[in-house]
């Protein structure tokens, strides 16, 4: 084996060659190749829309390739369908979470692979196994009877992972951006699980936009650009991430991107844009108080169950509060419904873009303009030319691909969808932006663009509350960082006074606030 990845078929858990796939108007894959060695953790990176999810879905039998060959374990596959790849031991954790909202955790984990006992399905046994697996392998305590619709996105992701791995027959596991919705501590547990799989001789294909993760767990990484592979980087040779990561980025975007985080001029804080006092929902939030100054970017982090998600929902009127006061720009805000929250000057970029972020069947222009339709209309009459123009403008600014504001949002790649959601609020004039994981699934190039836009918002005098699981992003962007543990804010630290390890330790309760 050498660094460029020349291998014989027999050594390969997976080999895909010259794969081409065209959707109406878009060539998603253009002769892409990819090979994963036995027992290898193989990374796959590329910009949004580079074709990563598409090649995975071809392997999964969701799409059929126009051309190209696929072999698993040295065996060429003729026509791929979901059942046959499953039989070969290939398991998928797709980028989009597809679980039935009204099913329980145990039902979801065992969907399609139910265990049977003497009296039909062995419900109790399945529940216990699901709970044990989730707790031991993925480190999350979940009630097997809880309904999927009541879980957080992170918990759903873990259920989805459990579903792929529970039967223990996996040979090749494909992860498409699994950590996008997970917090640092959960990512750690996942990596331990991946390590266990690796030691058991399983192969893995791992897609992520977090290049540090790639560097940390992958043996080799294939880089896609515009639907084709442009290089394989061997990460087993001892090299510092400072050298490797920029090399990968160069391959991905075809140039250097310079500083990921913009230089921000930190001005003196004059007034509070958002003030929260004693917020309590009688359940997960226990007296949360915080402030965000005008022109300030404040980070908020916390693991599953810390109350971070509930705090965001309460701020935005998606969750009833028992006690507490929310003040926006000095005015008491009545945020008992999202519509009220918006009118009092809040804007939310939700974390679950497919359910709360985008009307998938509307065009990009419609989605961008949805929150601010008055601005492109006269007396209720929609000025469609103006709406289209504004759509184009924001797509240009955020580099959404493919361009064309009349594309249906459903057909965009995951990262591009996220940009559209963000674009909607950039068009508005809110005083406080609550960004819940704003760069989930967004590639580095676009991410630096989004960071610049966030910095601009703050510069223009808005307060930004940036909720994120990515310590690097919090450290790079924020003035202050708040850490939530069990429904309380346990630390409020200047970004300059903390680092990656300290933040993770705080969030998992492993350290005292400085």
């Amino acid at each position: 084996m050498n660094a460029t990845g020349e291998q014989h078929d027999a050594d390969c858990a997976l080999r895909m060659e010259g794969v081409t796939k065209t959707f109406p108007g878009v060539r998603a894959l253009d002769g892409a190749s990819l090979s994963v060695g036995r027992g290898e953790v193989h990374g796959l990176v590329g910009e949004n829309g580079a074709g990563k999810s598409t090649i995975i879905k071809i392997l999964a039998g969701v799409y059929h390739a126009d051309a190209g060959s696929v072999s698993v374990d040295g065996e060429p596959l003729e026509r791929i369908d979901p059942a046959s790849v499953h039989r070969l031991g290939v398991r998928f954790i797709h980028q989009e979470i597809s679980l039935v909202p009204h099913f329980s955790v145990a039902e979801s984990v065992f969907l399609g692979q139910e265990q049977t006992g003497r009296l039909g399905t062995a419900k109790r046994a399945m529940r216990e196994r699901a709970e044990t697996f989730l707790a031991e392998t993925l480190g999350v305590e979940l009630d097997g009877r809880a309904l999927v619709r009541d879980l957080s996105v992170a918990e759903r992701k873990l259920v989805q992972i459990a579903r792929a791995l529970i039967d223990g027959r996996a040979k090749l596991v494909v992860f498409d951006e699994p950590t996008a919705v997970l917090a640092a501590a959960e990512v750690k547990t996942l990596f331990t699980a991946i390590d266990t799989l690796r030691r058991a001789g399983k192969s893995m294909l791992y897609v992520s936009h977090y290049l540090n993760e790639i560097h940390q767990i992958c043996d080799r990484v294939t880089v896609f650009r515009n639907g084709a592979d442009v290089g394989v980087v061997d990460l087993r040779q001892p090299q510092q991430p400072q050298v490797r990561v920029p090399e990968i980025i160069r391959l991905m975007v075809g140039r250097d991107i310079g500083d990921l985080y913009p230089q921000r001029r930190r001005s003196e804080r004059t007034r509070d844009a958002l003030e929260v006092a004693g917020l309590d929902d009688g359940h997960r939030l226990r007296g949360v108080s915080l402030t965000v100054g005008a022109g300030e970017v404040v980070g908020l982090t916390g693991i599953i169950g810390s109350g971070r998600a509930e705090l965001v929902d309460s701020l935005y009127g998606l969750r009833k509060i028992r006690a507490g006061k929310i003040t926006v720009d000095g005015e008491p805000a009545r945020t008992n419904s999202p519509a009220r929250a918006v009118r009092s000057g809040l804007a939310l970029v939700p974390r679950d873009r497919r359910n709360d972020g985008l009307v998938l069947d509307m065009t990009v222009a419609d989605n961008v303009n949805l929150a601010t339709l008055e601005e492109v209309s006269t007396l209720g009459w929609l000025n469609r030319a103006a709406a289209g123009r504004r759509g184009e403008e924001l797509m240009e600014r955020l580099d959404v691909r493919p361009r064309g504001s009349h594309a249906v949002s459903r057909l965009l790649s995951g990262g591009n969808q996220q940009k559209v959601v963000l674009g909607r609020w950039l068009a508005s004039q809110a005083s406080v932006y609550v960004l819940d994981d704003p760069t989930v699934g967004v590639d580095v190039g676009a991410r630096s663009e989004i960071y610049r836009l966030i910095a601009d918002l703050a510069q223009a005098g808005a307060g930004v509350l940036m909720c994120s699981n990515d310590p690097a992003e919090l450290l790079g962007m924020c003035d202050r960082i708040l850490v939530m543990v069990r429904g309380r804010i346990i630390a409020d630290i200047a970004a300059a006074d903390t680092d990656h390890e300290h933040l993770t330790a705080l969030a998992t309760g492993g350290a005292e606030a400085a």
Partner: protein, 346 residues
């Protein structure tokens, strides 16, 4: 960022092989058929009738078709609005009935002018919508069940107050009121004029105004609409009340034409209205309910019954044809959509 490789042009650079070209062709034909299949069938029927029944293309017959379906069109437009918001209204028959009934009572028992009676009728219809909206928005009952409940309640009220469904005649109706059905404006029958006005209002509302955009967003993905700051409950109230008020108008036209009110007669429009809306939606690129599609759907139903009538065929055939066409149009439309939806939402 601006990478130097332009992404969208990639598709053009592909040199299509013969088999690819062929499959592209069959795909395009499939697309056209599935989207316009209904229009093609529509014209096939029209041509067939024109050839088989000489009277069919007679201008007066065409006007007949339009006039005979003005009431259905108004009901179907209201249904379009409701379906666009993600709901359904099974109680439009009640609003139709209440519109005509209350207008007659207003004139007969309270001696109101025809204009006031018109207003009373529309308000009576709107009241039905208020009940629906309350059940849906306040009690969070699904539109299907809420309007089903309203339907039963409304039917019962009519039976109680008309001693089990007896007709409410009013022969001495003023000419002005009667002309809502029988009159003409510049030579065009009033019914057609009213339906056209309603059509234009609905078109502007649903397809050209910001409110229409928001209503569509609510229907397609409610949580997104809500997170975007759209007053979802407010819009739902508007949709159900406005729809009921609109169909009350068609009830008033009906009574004006017959000079009497027949209890529970509105029900017969419910299923045709739903069919017309979904036939129309099947023609939309995103399978959305839309005003132009609904208009075509209504015309189709009208043409089929008229044609069968002229040919002296069993009128009952119409229902069977309607069923076949509806299922066919939807199957084609959604076969196409399922392909795409399955491809991305896994």
């Amino acid at each position: 960022m601006t990478a130097e490789t332009p992404a969208p042009s990639r598709a053009d650079s592909a040199a299509p092989t013969a088999s690819q070209a062929r499959s592209a062709w069959s795909r395009r034909i499939f697309d056209v058929v599935s989207r316009y299949g209904f229009v093609i069938v529509f014209f096939a029927f029209a041509v067939f009738f024109a050839l088989r029944a000489d009277a069919f293309l007679n201008p007066s017959n065409l006007v007949n078709i339009l006039e005979g379906n003005a009431v259905l069109l108004i009901a179907a437009l209201a249904m379009t609005l409701v379906v666009a918001s993600g709901g359904i209204d099974l109680s439009i028959g009640i609003a139709i009935d209440f519109g005509g009934w209350f207008a007659i009572i207003a004139m007969r028992d309270y001696d109101l002018t025809w204009a006031s009676a018109l207003l009373v009728g529309v308000l009576a219809g709107a009241a039905v919508g208020v009940l629906n909206a309350g059940l849906i928005v306040r009690l969070k009952i699904s539109p299907f069940l809420a309007t089903l409940g309203t339907f039963f309640i409304g039917s019962s009220i009519q039976q109680i107050y008309t001693s089990g469904g007896g007709q409410v005649p009013f022969r001495e109706m003023s000419e002005s009121f009667r002309s809502l059905s029988t009159g003409a404006v510049l030579g065009v029958p009033t019914e057609i004029v009213i339906a056209a006005v309603v059509g234009v209002v609905y078109f502007v509302l649903l397809e050209r105004s910001v409110h229409g955009k928001r209503i569509h967003a609510i229907g397609l993905q409610r949580s997104v609409a809500s997170v975007s700051g759209i007053r979802v409950s407010g819009y739902l109230v508007f949709v159900f009340v406005f729809a009921s008020a609109t169909v009350a108008l068609s009830g008033i036209i009906l009574t004006a034409g017959l000079r009497q009110f027949t209890p529970l007669s509105g029900f017969s429009y419910l299923l045709d209205a739903i069919a017309a809306v979904f036939i129309g939606a099947s023609m939309h690129p995103q399978r959305r309910p839309n005003v132009a599609g609904t208009l075509l759907g209504v015309l189709f139903l009208g043409v089929v019954s008229n044609g069968l009538n002229l040919m002296g065929l069993d009128f009952n055939l119409r229902d069977a044809l309607e069923g076949i066409i509806l299922v066919g149009a939807l199957a084609l439309a959604f076969a196409n959509r399922n392909n795409r939806a399955r491809a991305v939402s896994i």
